[in-house]
Symmetry: C2
Subunit: 596 residues, 2 copies
């Protein structure tokens, strides 16, 4: 079985030494978020995730959720319900929610390490509370007063959970095609009818009620995505005064048999004239849904990070324990029958790949989280808008890259185990199977790529990119006299300049041919992720050197940065070449000739 | 459920148009292997694999092998045993085995497309007959006359199957550590005692007997890998006159619960004084085992190819069927509610990546197979030796690259399905889980990389590389006037020159520091694979243009070659940069500081 230990030391390094979060929270007026408070929160989160959630991970996978087709009920794996009760008891569900609705009001950023720990400990379990955050956000930003009053408190305190009901059998990415209908009843309620699929936590036994946020079309709705509205549809009816009534006309039709996250209930939900309340404006549902989706996307990125971290922790342990062969530069452990495989350079390549992607990815995602706080609490509107643009720009990069790297890290970590990695009892294959969902849900990597290049760069004139490039340049300028990181500054400046050129180049080509954006998008996205990570590694090396961490810690940051620049960053060469290729290399082949 | 259609058209293109196999077989005196005969064989193989094996793939995964701990018996999934009986009935087990032992004596090359079809149709099932080939080879090359007489015929005609028993709980790669003991009984037999793990097809219900080839140590054996001997240990004892006797003292202790290939029995075998016969010379067992391993490694490479092909066939079908969104360059199917996703450039990127890796990999692996025939049947010893060196050089590339690409193709193909790819009923996730074993067994990718760079390049002075580079240069020279492929020749020459330089560079560095080989090995391997594939794509484009295939087929080869050169071959830039990095980027970090 794989084990998990929360990487508190590195989490704190990222928050305090790299990002200066403590000072930042003070500046933003989030005065409760002192280092003492946060450290206590993280210590307790580590205890909870390591001792309560992590031990349930293997049984959750093996036993999975059970579906009773007679009643439509879903039973979660043994221990999941009790763990959720403890989670609620500990006040975790409202950690970063507003005090006015019963939350603890800590910064959004503080929720990111918590989420990383939950996902590393037990990704499938983590999906139950996860979606409540999206529902909370949508209600906060788009709900009427009474809706916030009635639905927010139980979502924040964990009495109820939430869902996001978007996908239908024939449409996922293209929501304009959806068929679910909402008919006004004349009393302020609507009757919702249709079938939704892939609904995470759509049915379960953890709470007394579930609040579904459902996309549907009103009778007079315009065609396509401009005619979508959002509705609150609770599993048990809830009156405007908050009293809970009879079962609503929504029923779980089945749960999916999946490659992984067996402990997470992925439901087909059949709405058959279910009572619902419109949330926000008619036909503006997609915008409200995007509010939920953005933080959900950052959250899925963090899922990739958590799984990667757990995988590499175990690979490191195994590589130190497994005795096999001898070092080529001479026997390292003459008293043992063989040397541990960590002496092999190629095993170190796999371990360092994970370490570089995990720790760099941690800085990248925590920084994105911090920008969410800045976008809400910065003193000036200009700064809030800038941070908002930055979050919009970083979200597809964090979501896509951290999940793609999650695939890679769980792959490399499993590979360190050799054939043993393929055997269920070591737990590595579960991590690989669980990771596989993360590049699919909340928008595939391809969709993130289009969001980045098509929307955040082309449509918004690269506002977020400009801010981010400015940050890199500012850092490089500030480090100009620092010999400890001088080796990284030149290559970083070079890549930053190339990033700008590539962006202009694609923009030019897109004027003549709109297919150029789609053709370049994936490689542009990955290029961006690797350059961003180079920035985070240079900053991490600089921050470590200036910190009070141990010499071993400083050595590890410096050598991992060197490894990253020498052996991972060159992947940008391949991605840049692909971005530089004409769209015709993808579009020239006749569709019918693919299998001629 | 995923479907499978044998790609006979492309298989024939590779064999006849790219490789000129028909003329080659005639030159080698393999006169039975006419195009008529081979085409009939492939047609029948397609029918068998598509209609008998492919439909058992999903149930094989879902039900898997069952183990009875009271009897030690393994029951294969429903239909597997009957399919094996049909396979034996059809004479498939001996397709490429010598006529003198009951085989059909066709070239080794003819077995490669057969194997590709079997693996694509049902990888788990394919593992049962697979290991018989290794046992057959070992007996052919190292067995005494009576051993060949008694054991070969039933292995060739499929009455019995074979295994390779190498791995033990504490040793896989480092066989010098093995503990299984062989004690001479004084009557020409030995008593074998020890535990072997990860034994594919180690126990099953398909045949009356199983021939285990077991590595063990004689009492006076030298330490390490120089003291390993190979033994024949049948499940039921077999006398020297071939009569089958009582059960031998070998028992299956359990079968592994794995990420995939659930229909393949991966056994723990406990030998408790089992009767065995020494095969080959005492203490020379490793060499005999390498005979089995080389063809087994090529075979596992072909497993990666088969899975990739099945995955991409299904992704192509789905991408044509799934309607979602509209083409950015204007609506393509106005009569439909949305365009099929194949109009999206990024979906085409994923499909073309698969197509390029599958079809290029097919040429690469069939060519390696052809060299096995040349190494055995060429008229001059010099040519046979050259082909043998080439096979040795190509084997780790084919094994490692085709399986790594199998991971990538099953990933990309699943990704084309979006969230539906994660659901079991579509069958894509099974392909991804099954593919995951291929970069592990028969030597991990890291082990292949060391075999290539450490052994085939450094120890053998790059004999195989020189021959292969000569082939590429000869091709480039011959095409100098061919405008149809001129765009590929320049880049191919450039990469070929760089391949030589990188090889010399690592060789130089390795003189000063032996760790340089291990540090460069993986990236050197992948670099080699991508340049080799560039050669096969240039040759494929040239061969297609000169062939009688359809215009659509010719367009597809040309455009896929262009895609490959523009968007995949640039990965060599990243691998070359990593090869060029000093070993210190991997070795500098103190082992204890990895998680400081």
């Amino acid at each position: 079985m794989s084990t998990y230990k929360a990487p508190l030391n590195d989490m704190r390094f990222v928050l305090y030494d790299v990002l200066g979060a403590e000072q930042e929270f003070a500046r933003l007026g989030q005065t409760d978020a002192t280092r003492d408070v946060l450290d206590a929160v993280f210590d307790e989160a580590a205890r909870f995730t390591e001792t309560v959630l992590a031990p349930l991970n293997e049984t959750g996978d093996r036993i999975g959720c059970r579906f009773d087709k007679d009643t439509g009920a879903v039973t979660t794996p043994p221990g999941f319900k009790q763990a959720y009760a403890q989670f609620v008891e500990g006040g975790w569900t409202g950690l970063v929610s507003p005090v006015e609705f019963g939350g603890q009001g800590l910064p959004y950023t503080a929720g990111v390490p918590l989420k990383e720990m939950i996902d590393a400990a037990n990704l499938a379990w983590g999906n139950f509370p996860l979606l409540s955050h999206g529902a909370t956000d949508a209600l906060l930003h788009h709900g009427e007063d009474w809706q916030r009053e009635v639905f927010l408190k139980p979502l924040v305190d964990g009495t109820w959970t939430g869902t996001m009901c978007l996908t239908e059998p024939h449409c996922g990415t293209d929501l304009g095609l959806l068929k679910t209908r909402a008919t006004p009843n004349g009393d302020g309620t609507h009757s919702i009818t249709g079938t939704k699929i892939f609904i995470t936590a759509g049915e379960h036994d953890m709470t007394d009620n579930i609040v579904h946020l459902v996309l549907a079309k009103l009778p007079d709705a315009p065609a396509g995505s401009k005619g979508i509205s959002l509705f609150i549809v609770p599993k048990f009816k809830v009156a405007r005064d908050g009293t809970q009534g009879d079962a609503n006309a929504v029923r779980c039709g089945s749960i999916e048999h999946k490659m992984g996250i067996h402990g997470s209930a992925t439901c087909v939900l059949n709405f058959d004239g279910a009572q619902g309340y419109l949330i926000g404006q008619p036909n503006k549902g997609l915008m409200a849904m995007f509010t939920m989706m953005n933080t959900a996307r950052l959250g899925v990125g963090v899922q990739g990070l958590g799984l990667s971290d757990r995988a590499w922790q175990n690979a490191l342990r195994y590589s130190r324990e497994r005795l096999q062969g001898r070092s080529l530069s001479g026997v390292k452990f003459p008293d043992k029958p063989a040397d541990p495989i960590i002496v092999q350079p190629d095993v170190r390549r796999m371990l360092l790949t994970c370490k570089a992607l995990v720790e760099g990815g941690r800085a990248m995602s925590y920084h994105a989280g911090l920008q969410v706080d800045v976008s809400e609490h910065a003193p000036t509107q200009e700064e809030r808008e800038q941070a908002d643009a930055l979050v919009g720009f970083l979200t597809p990069i964090v979501k896509a890259c951290l999940t793609e790297w999650g695939i890679e890290c769980t792959y490399q970590a499993l590979q360190c185990f050799g054939g043993h990695g393929y055997i269920a009892e070591h737990g590595m294959e579960q991590l690989a199977r669980d990771a596989r969902i993360t590049t699919l849900y909340e928008g595939t990597t391809g969709i993130q790529a289009l969001d980045l290049l098509g929307r955040k760069i082309m449509q918004l004139q690269g506002a977020g990119l400009k801010i981010f490039l400015g940050m890199i340049t500012q850092f490089c300028d500030a480090q100009s006299g620092n010999e400890g990181v001088a080796e990284f500054i030149g290559p970083l400046r070079e890549k930053t300049a190339q990033w700008q050129q590539l962006t202009l180049q694609v923009g030019q080509r897109a004027k003549a041919n709109p297919e150029e954006v789609g053709a370049a998008s994936y490689d542009y996205l990955m290029y961006s992720g690797y350059v961003a990570l180079a920035y985070w590694w240079a900053r991490s090396a600089a921050a470590a050197a200036a910190s009070r961490h141990s010499d071993a810690f400083k050595q590890a940051k410096l050598e991992t940065a060197r490894f990253y620049f020498a052996r991972i960053l060159p992947r940008t060469l391949a991605h840049a070449a692909a971005v530089g290729s004409a769209a015709s290399t993808l579009t020239a082949l006749d569709e019918a000739a693919f299998d001629a």
